[in-house]
Structure formats: C-alpha cells, structure tokens
Amino acid sequence: MLIEQLINGITLGSIYAIVALGFTLVFGVLGIINMAHGEIFMVGAFIGVLTTSVLGWPLWLAFLASIVVTSLLGYLLEIFSLRPLRGKKGVSHLAPLISTIGVSIFLENLSHHMFGAGNKPFRTAFAEIRFEIGSITIYLVQITIFVISVILMVGLSVWLSKTKAGKALRATAENLETASILGVDTKKIITLTVIIASGMGGIAGILVGMAFNSVSPQMGLSMGLKGLAIIILGGMGNVKGAMVGGLILGLSETLLVAYGDSGYRDAIAFIMIILILLIRPQGIFGSKTAEGR
C-alpha cells in the first residue's frame, strides 16, 4: 500500500509543482501573487476537454490549444489587470492582489456559463494505458506528469540561468529600474513572464484532467490556494523550491489520508506554511529574508 500511496502522492505533488511554478515565476519577477492563476489552470483543463471530447482532436493538439489559449489569457491578464497598476503613484501592494482576484472571479463564473457548473469527463485513450507490477497499477499518465514537471523545472532553471532572455528576466526580477537602464525591455520581459506562467497553468490543467478524469469550474480555487502555500513552503520566486514544495505537499496530503485523518487534508498545506513561516520565513530554498512588498 505504501508504494501505491507514494505513487499517488508523487503524481499529485508533480501537479502541484507545475501550478506552483507558474505562481513562483510571476512572483519572482513582479512580486505579485497572481490570484487568477488557479482559474487560468482551470480554463486550460476545459480547453483540453473541449478539444479532445467535443472536437475529437488528438492529444498533442489539445495540449497545444490549451497552451495557446492560456498564454493568451495570460497576455490579457497582463494588459488589463496588471499593467495599468504598474508604476502608478499611490498603488499599494494590495491593488494587484485585488485585481487578480477580480479576474479569478470573472473567469470562474464565466466558465459556469460557458461550460456548465458540473464535472466534465476527460476521456482519452492515453489515460487508459497502464502497467501492472504485482498488485500495483501504474498509469502512463502518472509517469508523464512526473516527467513533464521535472522537464519544466529543469528547463525553466536552465532557461533562467543560461539564456539571454532568462538573464534579462532575472535582472528584471532583481531590480526593475536598473534592468531598464541597462537596456532590458522590461515591459516585454514582464509580459513574457506572465505568458509563460499562464501557459504552464494550461499544461497543468490538461494533466489534471487526464489524471483524475474530472474538470470543473471550481477546480481552480483549491489548486490556486495549494499553489500559494507551496511557493511559501519552497521559497517565494524559487523554481527548485516550487518543485520540492509541491512534492512535499502532495506526499504529505496523501500520507495523511493513508495513515491519518482524511478530514484534515485541506488544512495540512496551511499548517505547513504557518509552521515554515515561523521557523524559516524565507521558505526551504529561499535565500533572502521575508520582506514584504
């Protein structure tokens, strides 16, 4: 049973990690908690359902469609709810929080109207492929999810540290004004960041749809809250932290259910962040002290 539960935990944790990567990227560069990230993730999942179940597209095309749509959403999010707030005088750190909450309310309710409030099945042949080792069943989807999350994390780390765009992004994250003086097109970098983060949300959405065969307009909220907890756990703006934090949360939720009381499952993420904030406010991988913005 332990091995099965560990597999469950790693699958869940990998999904959490991908969601958290999107959060952490935006926070790292903009210092903003994007409360709409969970809803973008949800829209990505719905695009997956629409393209595979309704339009009958192959899975890779569904992935592509989902990434395109969520990236576009990210772009719109940046244009309409983040950019107008930037550099404006008298804007408190609350404003982007509220603005993205507005976007999340909008997206969630729009989805109710467009897709209906209930769960939608996500059926693909791919999700049925499985291997049986003894009494343990492993689905290919579970392996895929883990692999994709690792690829995304490694890819993102490499991109950030090795490429020019990545360096520009880090420079922007370090200090927006200095980066702009040094010739970095910060506007473009910021837009790019939000788009990449949102696209990753789309990937996570499709993966969840495949793994759990359920997509609903409400799935964004709980995933968003968990993602929030994870970036604190791993350290705000830290890519590795998001990955490790996601896995820790996924595993501890699963193990809590397996050996403890499943009723407290939703609380564990927050109990963990309250503890970590008290012991090590900068998070597991964070290097700076927890300074508010």
């Binding site: 049973m1 469950n8 109710h112 209930g118 065969n213 307009p217």
Partner: protein, 394 residues
C-alpha cells in the same frame, strides 16, 4: 477632529438614505391581482386560481447545476399547469448563490411580498436551515425539493419537503445490495464539508451498524478536490465487499471512475444525490455497479416518466435528473393543494391544504406528507448495468 467626525456622520447618513431609497425603488407592487377572496364555489364554477410562488434557488456559484435543474423542472411544470387552466401559477425566482446569508435575504424579500403565497427552495440544506425558521415564524409555507438532511420538516408547521430523505433512500439501497451480494465488510467514503453528504454518511453508518456489517474504513473528501486516489487506495487495501459512497453525483462519478481504474470492482451504494444520468456521462463504463436508492428512476418504462423525459428533453435538450423531477412534482403538489384550498391568497389555507396531501400521484409515485410534513413514499432501488440505469433485481 470635530469636523472630521461631523463630515463622517453626514456621509454615513447619506449612505443610509441612498440605501433606503434604493430599497424603496426596487420594491415590487404588493397588491397584484386585487381580487377578493375566492371561495370554494368559485373553483367548481371553473374560475382560474391565481397564485404567486416564490422560488429560492442556487443559480450562481459552485452548485449552480443543481439550482438550474430545479428551476427548469419548476418552469416545465408551471407551463403545463398553466396550460391546463385550472390554476395559474406565477414563479418569482430568486438566486441564493449557495450562501445562507443571501438565501435569507431572498427569503425575506419573498416573505415580505404579501402577494407571494408560498415558497419553494432553497436548494441546499445549509441554506434551508437558515431560511425555514424565518418562514415558519412568518406563517408562509416553505417546501424543500432537494433538502435531505435530518430534522428539516421538524423545523415547524409551515415547513415541508418532497425530497426523499437519505434516511429512507440509503437503507433501502443498502438492504437490497447486501441481500444480493451477501456482503459482510463495507468501506465508507463521504464528503465531510457538505451538509447533504454528511447527513447521508450518518445514515450509512447507522444502517451498517444495525445490519451488523463490519466497517473497514471511513474516508472523507472535501469540495473542490479532484484526486480521490489516496482515499481509494486505502479502501482498496481493506478489501471491502461493498463501498458506501455518500456523494453528490458530480464528485461521486469521479470517485467511482478513479476507483474502477484502480481496480476496485465491488459495487458502490449511494444515496439519492448520487442518482443522475450525469454519472454515466462522466464515468462511462466505470459507473457500472452503482446501486442507489431513489424516488426517481429516469429510465423507467412508466409512461408518466417517459413522457416527462420527452418533454424535458424537448425543452432543455438534456435528460432530467431527480432534482428536476422532484421540483417538477413539487409544483404539481402545490397546484394540487391550491385547487383544494380554492384560493391563491390565503397563506394559512394553503398550508392546511398542503398538509393534507395524501396519495398524490406524481411522476415519482404516490406521495403523502406525514404529520410533521416529511415525505411518505416508496423508494425504488436502481443500479447501473451496461451503461444504463435499471431496476435492481435481487
């Protein structure tokens, strides 16, 4: 400092004024109809009885699917009833958004309108618990069509429901399932942050104990989760003969799907909330082996239900579920009581007529209220076999 306070008070006063005028302007005409009380003679002479029924339904937010089904069922019934011409019902529909606070506001709005005869709804038991005592004190009849928690009709004399409580539906399903399978060990999974599924769980646990079944494990899930694998793995390892799942169909369908994928092949037993054609739509073949107790059997060959299905599909392009069916019947029960009361204006006369409802023939079967206003009717046990709901055979 003084000035600040004064200014502040002025602004506060202005708000209050704006508030009051806003409320004042939104008030509807309270004196509609304006007829004098129609007596019983009028009914026999064929005069149409006018009545306004308030509806509180969960139309926006996470559970909007349930409210939507309910209002669609009501509207279909309204159309038919009004076409027949004996009574003419007007529905005043208010949204509760699934929140007790807004349900109470909606309820107060309807109760304060003297032309509203009675209320149907709200959708959730948690909303109903907040609104019903108020309705009872105001002397306006309120009937739940989807509220199955314990203790609802006991709130007061004016409180009714036509939704079959889980205390009737679940034991019936469990008894039949245990009889056929000879099950001795059962595992339970339920949503512990929802009043509906929690109430169902309590019935399951009680019934299992009464029947002398061994409960291998009790697992919970919470709203918004889509991963039930951890709980199901645990259940799988306890090797139960049956899984009792107190879940609404939206979550339930996903649970049964994940369970089958994991290799749990034993039958699932659920309550009324688990009964919906959506289960088959969401879970596909995985839904086979689900046993539920319900007043409503959608694929029944009963001509009444066949006709209801046809009309509903024509109107809304999808199959009705039991929430729609219960709401549909509820309005017919109201219309029936209206006919007997002979007037659409007297709230007390309506309440008394409603309480006397006995052996009403709806699409759900013969329906009566007991002395507290709870449901008396037969439960049908159905199961999903080869992707279809069929009547349970022993």
């Amino acid at each position: 400092m003084q000035k600040y306070q004064k200014l502040f008070l002025i602004i506060l006063a202005t708000f209050m004024l704006i508030l009051l005028t806003a409320c004042g302007s939104s008030s509807t005409s309270t004196n509609s109809g304006g007829q004098s009380e129609t007596s019983i003679e009028d009914e026999t002479s064929g005069e149409v009885i006018q009545a306004k029924i308030g509806v509180i339904s969960y139309l926006s937010g996470a559970g909007a699917a349930y409210g939507e089904a309910i209002t669609q069922g009501l509207k279909l019934a309204q159309k038919e009833i009004n076409e027949k011409g004996e009574v003419n019902i007007e529905l005043v529909i208010e949204d509760s958004a699934g929140e007790a606070e807004q349900a109470v506001n909606a309820g107060q709005k309807l109760m304060a309108d003297d032309s509203i005869l009675a209320i149907i709804g709200p959708t959730l038991s948690t909303e109903f618990f907040a609104v019903a005592p108020e309705a009872d004190l105001n002397g306006i009849t309120i009937m739940g069509t989807s509220t199955t928690a314990d203790g609802i009709p006991e709130i007061g004399d004016y409180v009714f429901r036509n939704s079959i409580p889980e205390a009737l539906a679940i034991p019936a399903a469990m008894e039949k399932a245990v009889k056929r399978t000879g099950a001795k060990k059962v595992a339970i999974i339920y949503g512990n942050d929802d009043a509906f599924t929690k109430a169902g769980f309590e019935v399951m646990k009680r019934t299992a104990e009464e029947m002398g079944l061994e409960i291998t494990t009790i697992e919970t899930y919470q709203k918004g989760q889509s991963d039930y694998k951890a709980q199901l793995t645990k259940i799988k390892n306890t090797n139960p003969d049956l899984v009792l799942a107190s879940a609404l169909y939206n979550e339930g369908a996903v649970i049964i799907d994940q369970a089958r994928k994991m290799g749990i092949t034993v039958p699932f037993v659920g309550g009324n909330g688990f009964n919906s054609p959506q289960v088959i739509e969401i879970a596909g073949d995985a839904a086979n082996g689900l046993i539920v107790g319900t007043p409503y059997f959608g694929d029944s060959t009963d001509p009444k239900i066949v006709e209801f299905n046809k009309k509903y599909e024509e109107e809304y392009g999808k199959k009705p579920d039991q929430f729609a069916a219960q709401a549909y019947d509820a309005l017919y029960i109201y219309a029936d009581a209206l006919k007997r009361a002979g007037t659409g204006e007297d709230r007390d006369a309506f309440r008394d007529a409603l309480a006397e409802t006995k052996d009403f023939e709806g699409i759900l079967g013969l329906f009566s209220f007991n002395e507290v206003g709870d449901v008396v009717m037969d439960v049908t046990v159905v199961e999903i076999k080869d992707g279809k709901f069929v009547e349970f055979e022993e």
